[in-house]
């Protein structure tokens, strides 16, 4: 057997609030609306009501993410008093009423007060029809707002290429703060000022683009309203498609095929690759390609880079570089460790570079007329595409990046009946891929794909079992060891930047005895990316992951080095892995960034130390 060590459980994916983790076995019985319900003693009233099939409206509460008890929408009557059920603990014999005049009036007043300081922009809001405030006010049967209040007028923040903030729509639920600090450990957003002046923003009201924000978009996924949204680039794509002089090429990321269907009412994890390809053709793209192709290519380059580092005593552990949120994180937070990163560009950027060199050469096109669009599960990809390092074709390699949500809006705008589309096929050669490319979409996938190839390249034996299950799943940090001809290769996988930080701290302390580490910025990997359909939560992530592994199983080829189009690419164009052309087009470098804007932190640290020492 290949794997010699079981994966260790270092950190849970999110929060610590599930019942198993609280370690409770004791049960209590309480009465909710006259109905007896028995639940673990450490449950909240909200959880107990759920168990009893009673729905309590919530707004700030978000399972696994945020439990601040701040909005008071979830109030219920306990002993004649109103209590926030999302944080109120159950007790033996407790009597709870969830539907009394007092409760209804209180909830209504709470929401009406919110609405009185809310721009009534629903008709033109990005979250129209997928907004929790809208839904709530409908659910509570609010037909008028009895209060007239002052309206906040904060400036919009459109500084970031990935994320737009409209603090005027913010309802101060603080979910984004929880996700950014507790799960991602980036700590960009916080509440500042007080009372009417309260605003959720970066420190010093700084513009997002000037902070250490990673563009991961996890805050966008949890925002109940339109206060945090992706930067919408659909108009740019419409324009390119309408221009008869351009040749518009599109690539679709691995994780998109198992999530796009959700935008059209399908179950999370439904594989819609064929419909997606057809939709892209209907929209008018001139060539429909797959990022999975360059995911396979990434594996070839990265596996070779790893083997080279192992042989030549290069910097180890080597860490993957596919996730632009992770890249920006390490650049800001651990700038001294950038040489641990693989120099491989992400599959999106490898694709962009080839789409304006190899592809036009082969197809006899003018590279200056090619527009490359990518459909990504990610907001950070928008930032990545604009990085100055990403112009190795002589042009900006990737011109426009759309999230899954934006892409779905275009399909709807075009009046395409997505559900009933016939399956289409990707174009050759850059649409040809293997199952190893598909699994890039889930945490552990890059590692698994790399191991499939590294094992066969090093041992010259074929793998009997392709599934490296030890690196799959939602545990925060996963470990495995693989025996490569007597050398034990130790690997680790982390997803979510909070977990990434843990691993980096181990490296800092010299305690990380790994050779190779995969890190994805988003919990669950790209299937949980900041550009995915809303909602995205732990259960949905699981379903999408199942879709990814099912798609891998369906592929006739499941190892990157077996991709025939990749073989041709090397024969005709790149010549060899890590060769001159590869270095020019497929590899990159990273830039150290500041932890805070304006002030340089290592210097500040020194100062403090000096003061301390004396």
């Amino acid at each position: 057997m290949v794997l010699v060590k079981k994966n260790a459980h270092l950190m849970p994916l999110v929060g610590t609030r599930t019942n198993e983790q609280k370690g409770a076995k004791e049960m209590v019985t309480l009465t909710i609306d006259g109905q007896k319900v028995t639940v673990p003693a450490n449950s909240t009233v909200l959880e107990a009501a759920e168990a009893a099939g009673i729905h309590i409206p919530t707004l700030c509460y978000l399972k696994d993410v945020s439990q601040t008890g701040s909005c008071r929408v979830c109030v219920v009557e306990i002993g004649g008093r109103l209590q926030a059920s999302c944080v109120f603990p159950v007790s033996e014999g407790m009597e709870v009423k969830t539907n009394t005049p007092l409760v209804r009036e209180s909830r209504r007043t709470t929401v009406e007060l919110m609405l009185s300081n809310h721009p009534q922009d629903c008709l033109t809001c990005l979250r129209n029809q997928n907004c929790e405030l809208q839904k709530l006010s409908h659910e509570l049967n609010i037909r008028e707002v009895r209060f007239e209040g002052a309206r906040s007028s904060f400036p919009l923040d459109t500084s970031s290429p990935a994320i737009a903030r409209d603090p005027n729509k913010c309802i101060l639920c603080r979910r984004c703060i929880s996700v950014c600090s507790e799960i991602q450990g980036v700590n960009i957003l916080a509440a500042r000022e007080r009372g009417f002046e309260t605003v959720v923003s970066p420190a010093w009201q700084e513009q997002l683009a000037n902070t250490a924000c990673t563009n991961c978009g996890q805050c966008v996924l949890v925002c109940p309203v339109g206060a945090l949204v992706e930067k919408d680039d659909t108009e740019k794509v419409w324009k390119a498609l309408a221009d008869p002089d351009t040749h518009v090429v599109v690539q679709t990321a691995p994780a998109v095929r198992v999530t796009l269907g959700e935008e059209f009412g399908l179950e999370p994890g439904t594989i819609v690759t064929g419909k997606m390809v057809t939709a892209l053709r209907r929209l008018g793209f001139d060539a429909v390609f797959d990022t999975d192709f360059t995911a396979d290519l990434t594996i070839i380059e990265e596996a070779n880079e790893l083997l080279q580092r192992l042989e030549n005593g290069g910097k180890l552990p080597m860490i993957t570089s596919c996730s632009p949120g992770w890249i920006k994180f390490i650049e800001h937070q651990f700038p001294a460790y950038l040489d641990h990163l693989s120099t491989c560009k992400s599959p999106q950027q490898m694709f962009g570079a080839l789409a304006k060199t190899y592809y036009p050469e082969k197809a006899g096109l003018d590279p200056g007329k090619i527009v490359t669009v990518s459909i990504m599960p990610c907001t950070a990809k928008k930032f990545e595409a604009e990085r100055p390092e990403m112009q190795s074709s002589g042009y900006q390699d990737v011109d426009i990046v759309l999230t899954v949500r934006e892409f779905a809006r275009m399909i709807k705008e075009a009046g395409i009946d997505f559900i009933n589309l016939a399956d289409g096929e990707y174009d050759a050669p850059m649409g040809i891929s293997t199952g190893a490319g598909v699994i890039f979409g889930a945490t552990g996938g890059v590692m698994e794909a790399a191991l499939r190839t590294a094992y066969e390249v090093v041992t010259e034996e074929s793998l009997d079992k392709l599934d490296f299950t030890e690196v799959r799943g939602l545990e925060g940090i996963k470990e495995a060891s693989v025996n490569l001809n007597g050398t034990v290769l130790k690997v680790a996988v982390a997803h979510g930047l909070g977990n990434a930080r843990k691993l980096m701290e181990l490296i800092q302390q010299g305690k990380a005895e790994y050779h190779f580490i995969e890190i994805m910025a988003c919990p669950g990997g790209c299937i949980g990316g900041g550009g995915q359909p809303i909602p995205t939560n732990t259960d949905i992530r699981r379903q999408r992951m199942a879709g990814i592994y099912a798609a891998d199983k369906d592929m006739p080829l499941r190892k990157s080095h077996e991709n025939p189009a990749i073989k041709v690419l090397y024969d005709e164009f790149l010549r060899e892995p890590l060769g001159e052309k590869s270095h020019e087009l497929l590899h990159t470098h990273y830039v150290p960034r500041l932890k805070y804007s304006e002030v340089e932190h290592p210097e500040a640290k020194e100062e403090t130390k000096r003061g301390t020492a004396s």
């Binding site: 700590n187 916080a190 000022e193 805070y596």
Partner: protein, 175 residues
């Protein structure tokens, strides 16, 4: 690293500055203790008079607290300020009584005369303009305070003359 060679001089300046040394000591004294942030900010403000951005960063780093949280605390509590303070604090009351008697017009005139918005300090460092809660002199509404002095029954026309007293005193003091 790139940034360190960018030619920023604040490092060298700070090294000679006793206040930063003192800040380092304060942080060292509290580091690792729960609830350290507020007392440290308190002491830091005593040392510096206000909480400039670089001090906030030093506190964040020293206590291992996110900068966004430091900023959140500073902006939440009105006793903290990240703006330098002028020699005299002008406090104009906007309580109900003062408001009804025309405090808003007085405030507008103050802004014009001092040349700054609420919370800001004049370019000469003499005045910081602030809105205060009721000072308990409603009989004199509208009321403002400058340093320890209280002025009542104000009209916008009074403002220039009152401010001038302080400006002249400053000039004479310096001469």
């Amino acid at each position: 690293m790139e940034a360190a060679t960018r030619g920023c001089q604040c490092h060298a300046l700070r090294a000679q500055d006793e206040r930063y040394k003192r800040l380092g000591e304060i942080i060292a004294q509290y580091a690792g203790q729960p609830g350290a942030l507020i007392p440290v900010l308190h002491h830091a403000q005593e040392v510096f008079g206000y909480l400039p951005h670089d001090v906030q960063v030093l506190v964040a780093e020293g206590l291992d607290v996110p900068l966004s949280e430091v900023d959140g605390v500073i902006t939440f509590y009105s006793l903290f300020t990240s703006e330098p303070r002028g020699k005299y604090k002008i406090g104009i009351c906007l309580g109900t009584a003062c408001y009804v008697k025309g405090a808003a017009a007085v405030l507008e005139e103050l802004k014009k005369q001092v040349g700054v918005d609420i919370g800001k300090t004049s370019a000469d460092g003499l005045f910081t303009l602030e809105v205060t809660r009721c000072v308990g002199a409603c009989g004199l509404a509208p009321v403002m305070t400058i340093g320890d002095d209280v002025y009542g029954r104000l009209t916008p026309e009074d403002v220039a003359g009152i401010l001038d007293k302080y400006i002249q005193a400053e000039k004479n003091g310096k001469a």
